[in-house]
């Protein structure tokens, strides 16, 4: 059986021909059985997003992943054009800030 993760990756590849793509299964961070495919975080960098607001980009992804959305619990979307991606240091949002607890 094809995994949900694999299906998401192949549908996004086909729809957006991304220059960078990362599909992360974050289910282990949630209260679900081991091996679950319930929570995903998707980062897509593509020229297809040129001139489109975030709302439009997310609509496109939601539409592309319509069938998957019906079975998974959560989908976090991070969409960038190549220049936007470079400008933000090639990092998707949500890495918690350093609170000064460095060991050095």
């Amino acid at each position: 059986m094809t995994s949900v993760q694999h299906t998401i990756e192949s549908k996004l590849n086909q729809a957006f021909t991304p220059s960078f793509m990362l599909v992360e299964n974050e289910s282990h961070k949630h209260n679900v059985p081991p091996g679950s495919e319930s929570h995903f975080k998707v980062t897509v960098v593509s020229a297809a997003f040129e001139g489109q607001r975030l709302l439009q980009r997310h609509r496109l992804l939601n539409q592309t992943l319509k069938d998957e959305l019906a079975v998974i619990h959560a989908l976090s979307l991070h969409t960038f054009t190549e220049p936007e991606w470079v400008a933000r240091g090639e990092q998707a949002a949500q890495t918690p800030p350093c609170l000064g607890g460095s060991a050095s």
Binding site: L54, L55, H58, N62, L69, A74, S76, A93, Q94
Partner: protein, 107 residues
């Protein structure tokens, strides 16, 4: 009243409204929690609907603005987006400006 009429009435009569799982004081989903936190930092009042307590809205809201997931944030009667977009706009400062302008103009 038809549920879509009810939702339309809610988003049009409240300058800022969030449809979330749980309440601002007790969110029941991590995405709703982070989104409502961003709204709280905009220093204006906002309305909320707990979709868990209103199964009819829970079922029909996705087709209201053709948006499949929760939470959903509406500002000035328009869908702004879900958690990721709201947080992105919060990080850039855009959210606060939009919320304050919309609320202040509606007053």
């Amino acid at each position: 009243m038809d549920v879509l009429e009810k939702i339309k009435e809610q988003v049009e009569s409240n300058p800022v409204i969030i449809y979330m799982k749980g309440t601002p004081g007790m969110p029941m989903c991590g995405f709703s929690s982070r989104t409502v936190d961003a709204l709280k930092q905009c220093e204006r009042e906002f309305a909320y609907v707990n979709v868990i307590a209103d199964p009819e809205v829970f079922e029909h809201l996705p087709r209201f603005a053709d948006w499949p997931t929760f939470p959903q944030v509406y500002i000035g009667g328009e869908l702004i987006g879900g958690c990721d977009i709201t947080l992105e706009m919060h990080a850039s400062g855009e959210l606060k400006t939009l919320v304050q302008e919309t609320v202040d103009n509606a007053a």
